[in-house]
Subunit: 153 residues, 2 copies
DNA sequence: TACATTTGTATCGTGCACGATTTAATCATG
DNA sequence: CATGATTAAATCGTGCACGATACAAATGTA
């Protein structure tokens, strides 16, 4: 088999395991997040808002590397759950500002224990803490490299 | 800020960059795959079939870590594009066997150059080849660990 | 042989993702 | 200050993902 053909095999690829790992982690989160009645992307939005209580739609998009056509419906669902409110900025009428409600802010307390629950799922003794740290570093570099490429497309 | 609260930040997490990297790689693939009129998941199915021309739906699901409720519609779309055929196995009437058509087999030639096009996108000088190899190894271990967890759920 | 259990695939409903496009507000430049 | 370009958000259509469920074929067991 030629080198070129060998590259067509799943195992030699980087993208498939990224895709699989992403879906698998979402599945690990699902039962934990169900307690808060959140999906994983909804949880990501809440994470951003717990860090900055008041953000424009655009600011949320930038942090999550998502487009408004994905985020807008997400925000509407979270608004329906009374976790946040959306209102046009009077400063710039194009902007929509997103704010946590009291309920949304309170949910943060329930979320505090999530990371350790998830980390416990990841830690299987198979991968050392040092390896994970290195992995995480490379992963972030990769995200930044890819994001720069994609933004130029 | 407590350690517990710090973990609620996006930057400290493993899952968000996995999710972002997965979406970004799919975006990098999109224009390349458009030439073949394939989406990324469709390309994954074709990769599997180029390796084993004749597989059951279940065998495809196992290789891609997907369920039949995702794969069945995917296969139907590929069937509509005349890239494969589906037929009940006479051996075991529950099984549906998937086979490449001539057109599906021919498409492989066009796909041969894809991996190098993608690798070129990844390679930015930012990440050394050794780092990528190590990263890939950890990533596969992670996929296996997570998959084992998820299958026990 | 009956009948319960398991297995393989498909169906349905919901929620992302995202390309393409739309609309309205703001900005820039002559 | 007029008008063309840019920006922010939303809308629409398509294709995944996946939980829950259905259903038929195969298998196991009394």
């Amino acid at each position: 088999m030629s080198d070129q053909a060998a590259r067509l095999y799943l195992d030699n690829q980087l993208c498939f395991p990224l895709y699989a790992a992403s879906r698998l982690t979402t599945k690990i989160y699902a039962p934990v997040l169900k307690e808060l009645d959140l999906t994983y992307p909804q949880y990501l939005v809440m994470l951003v808002l717990w860090q900055h209580a008041d953000l424009s739609v655009n600011a949320i998009c930038e942090r999550l590397l998502l487009e408004s056509n994905t985020v807008t419906p997400l925000l509407k669902r979270l608004e329906q759950k009374k976790l946040l409110t959306r209102r046009r900025s009077s400063d710039d009428e194009r902007r929509v500002m997103v704010s946590l409600t009291e309920k949304g802010d309170q949910l943060r307390k329930q979320a505090l224990s999530i990371p350790e629950q998830i980390v416990a799922s990841f830690d299987d003794g198979e991968i050392s803490e040092a390896e994970i740290r290195q992995f995480q570093e490379t992963l972030w570099t990769l995200v930044n490299v890819l994001n720069a490429k994609v933004e130029k497309m």
